[in-house]
C-alpha cells in the first residue's frame, strides 16, 4: 500500500543547512509559536483551536452515571481522540501510533495532574455521579497536535457548563439550561503542553510543522501550568538530549504556557461577554415596560 511521502533528500539537506544558518522554513524564530486562534462554539464546551494550519475541535459532554465501585465519590473523566482521514490520509485505518500517543499524553497531562476535581462531580456517593467526556477531533494536521489538543481540552473544560442538579432523597434531577443556569466545572489548575523538537543534538524548535516533525531526531513534551508547576515531561525515545537543554526547554515552556493561558483567559472573557444578556434585569417580567 503506497504511503505518505516523507521529505525528500533535498528537503532534508536544505532544512539542516537552514538550521545551521538559524533560519526556519516558515521564517519563524526557533522558539516561536505559529499564530494561535481560539474560538468557542455556540454550545457550552466546544472549543476550536487553530495553530497555523493545524486545527483541533474539542467537545465536552456530561451525563449522569453510576461511579466505579472502587471510587464511589469520583466522576469518571475520559478523553477520547479521533484522528480522522480528513486531517491527513495517513490516519485512515486502525488507530495509529500518533493517535495512541496523543491520547496518552493528554491523559497524563490532564487526568493525572488532577486538573479536573472529579470529586465535585459526585451527586450521591456510589449511586450517581456526572461523567465528563472530552472528544478531541483533529480536523487538520500540520504538526504539533499535542499542544493544540491540550489547549483545546483545557479551554473547552473551562468553557463547559453542566446542567444544575438537585438531589431529593434518592432522586436526582438535572435541570436543562433553559430551566436553570449551568454550572461550571471545578478545575484546580490549567495545565498546557509545549512540545520541543530536537535536531542535530543542539537545535531545539518549538511548535514544529508537519514536515519539521517528520525530520526531527527526537521530541519532548512538557506539560505545566502558568505557575511553572511541571505536570509531566514525556520524552518518548529519539536521540538523547543534554539535561541542560531540557532545563532551558522547561523555562521556555513556562513563557509559552503563560502566553497561551493569557490568550485563553482573554477569549473566555470575550465569549462570556458575548453570552451575557444583562443578567437578572433582562429576565422577563410581568411589568409593563412603557409605564415608568
Amino acid at each position: 500500500m503506497p504511503r505518505e511521502l516523507g521529505p525528500s533528500l533535498n528537503e532534508r539537506q536544505f532544512f539542516l543547512q537552514a538550521l545551521k544558518e538559524e533560519v526556519r522554513i516558515d521564517s519563524r524564530g526557533f522558539g516561536d509559536f505559529r499564530a494561535i486562534q481560539l474560538d468557542f462554539g455556540d454550545e457550552y464546551g466546544v472549543s476550536d483551536v487553530r495553530i497555523g494550519k493545524t486545527r483541533v475541535l474539542t467537545n465536552i459532554t456530561a451525563e449522569v452515571t453510576t461511579p466505579f465501585p472502587d471510587r464511589p465519590f469520583d466522576g469518571p473523566f475520559t478523553i477520547t481522540t479521533s484522528l480522522s482521514a480528513m486531517a491527513s490520509p495517513s490516519f485512515s485505518g486502525p488507530p495509529s501510533e500518533t493517535e495512541v500517543l496523543l491520547a496518552r499524553l493528554l491523559e497524563k497531562t490532564l487526568r493525572r495532574s488532577g486538573a479536573l476535581d472529579t470529586e465535585s462531580l459526585c451527586l450521591i456517593a456510589g449511586r450517581a455521579v456526572f461523567s465528563i467526556r472530552a472528544d478531541v477531533h483533529v480536523l487538520s494536521h500540520d504538526g504539533n497536535l499535542t499542544d493544540a489538543a491540550c489547549l483545546g481540552v483545557v479551554a473547552a473544560l473551562r468553557h463547559f457548563r453542566r446542567g444544575d442538579s438537585e438531589v431529593k432523597g434518592e432522586d436526582v434531577k438535572v435541570f436543562t439550561m433553559a430551566e436553570r443556569e449551568g454550572v461550571a466545572l471545578s478545575l484546580l489548575h490549567y495545565p498546557l503542553c509545549v512540545t520541543f523538537s530536537f535536531y542535530e543534538g543542539e537545535v531545539v524548535l518549538v511548535d514544529a510543522t508537519l514536515s519539521e516533525e517528520q525530520m526531527r531526531e527526537g521530541s519532548c513534551t512538557i506539560g505545566m501550568n502558568k505557575h511553572g508547576e511541571v505536570c509531566q515531561i514525556a520524552k518518548l525515545g529519539g536521540a538523547p538530549v543534554d539535561a541542560v537543554i531540557l532545563l532551558s526547554c522547561s523555562n521556555l515552556a513556562l513563557r509559552h504556557v503563560e502566553r497561551m493561558s493569557k490568550v485563553m483567559e482573554e477569549r473566555l472573557l470575550e465569549d462570556a461577554k458575548r453570552r451575557y444578556k444583562g443578567g437578572i434585569k433582562a429576565e422577563p417580567s410581568s411589568e409593563n415596560a412603557r409605564v415608568p
Partner: protein
C-alpha cells in the same frame, strides 16, 4: 481573460462560446462532458478557457488531487530501485511510477545515474493509463537530449496548488495567467533556478538558503493569498533588493 465565463457543475455550454475552426474537430478538455448529440456540460466549477488555434475548450479549476496525463512534467521522488527501473512517487497515496534506468541523457548499461531513495528527478510522463503503473522518462526519446530533465540536486521543494503549477508553466504567464512574479524577480536581478512540476511541486535553487526560501515562500503566498499583478511587482522588487 475577464470575459471568460464562469461555469458551475451541470451548466450547459452556450454554443456561441465554442471556438469554431474550419477543419479541426473540437477538443474537449478537463471538466467538460459531451452529452450526445450536441450538448456539452461542465462537471466542475471553474473558468471556461478556449483555444481557437487548437479548436480546444476546457475548464480551468483548482483541484486537490493530481491526475497524471501523458507529457506532463512532474517532480518525482525516488522511492526505491530495482534492476532496471527506479520506482518513483509523484504524489502521496498513489502507486509508484516506473522510471527506467536508461532513460537519462547519455545513460548506458555502464554509466547511469545512481539515485538514492528520496532523491528528486524532473521527469516527463510517458504512459498514464488508469489501471497501469505510470511511466516516466528524463530524456527526449526522439532527440536523446535531456531538455532540462533529470536529477535535481540541492535546492528546496515547495508545494503549491495544481492551478498555480499550471499557471507557472504557461508559455506567457503574464498575459495568460496574470502571473508576473518570476519575470519581475529576474528583471530585478535575483538569480535562481526553478523547476515546476504539474503535480503541484516547485523546486527552487539559488545561491543562498535565505533567497531560496524567500522565492519559494513568495510563490506560495502568491498562490494562497491570490496576489494580483501589481502586488506581485511590488513584492518582487522589494524582495530582490533584500536578497541581492
Amino acid at each position: 481573460m475577464a470575459a471568460d465565463p464562469i461555469l458551475l457543475p451541470g451548466d450547459y455550454l452556450d454554443p456561441k462560446v465554442l471556438p469554431s475552426h474550419p477543419s479541426k474537430a473540437l477538443k474537449l478538455g478537463p471538466g467538460l462532458l459531451h452529452i450526445p448529440p450536441n450538448s456539452i456540460v461542465s462537471t466542475v466549477a471553474g473558468r471556461l478557457c478556449t483555444d481557437n488555434k487548437k479548436n480546444a475548450v476546457w475548464v480551468e479549476y483548482n483541484s486537490g488531487r493530481y491526475i497524471p496525463v501523458v507529457d506532463d512534467l512532474v517532480i518525482a521522488t525516488i522511492h526505491h530501485s530495482a534492476t532496471d527501473f527506479y520506482y518513483a512517487s509523484i504524489s502521496d497515496y498513489s502507486s509508484n511510477a516506473i522510471l527506467p534506468n536508461l532513460s537519462f541523457e547519455g545513460a548506458s548499461r555502464k554509466s547511469r545515474p545512481q539515485l538514492a531513495p528520496g532523491a528528486l528527478v524532473y521527469a516527463r510522463i510517458t504512459l498514464a493509463n488508469k489501471h497501469m503503473d505510470l511511466e516516466l522518462e528524463c530524456v527526449s526519446a526522439s532527440t536523446g537530449k535531456s531538455d532540462g530533465l533529470g536529477p535535481l540536486t540541492g535546492g528546496m521543494v515547495f508545494s503549491v496548488s495544481l492551478a498555480m503549477a499550471r499557471r507557472l508553466m504557461l508559455p506567457k504567464p503574464g498575459e495568460q495567467g496574470q502571473l508576473v512574479l518570476l519575470e519581475e524577480l529576474g528583471a530585478a536581478g535575483a538569480s535562481f533556478e526553478i523547476a515546476v512540476g504539474r503535480n503541484g511541486r516547485v523546486w527552487v535553487d539559488s545561491k543562498s538558503v535565505k533567497s531560496t526560501l524567500a522565492i519559494g515562500n513568495m510563490i506560495q503566498r502568491t498562490d494562497q493569498e491570490g496576489w494580483m499583478v501589481e502586488k506581485q511587482r511590488i513584492m518582487a522588487k522589494r524582495m530582490a533588493k533584500e536578497i541581492s
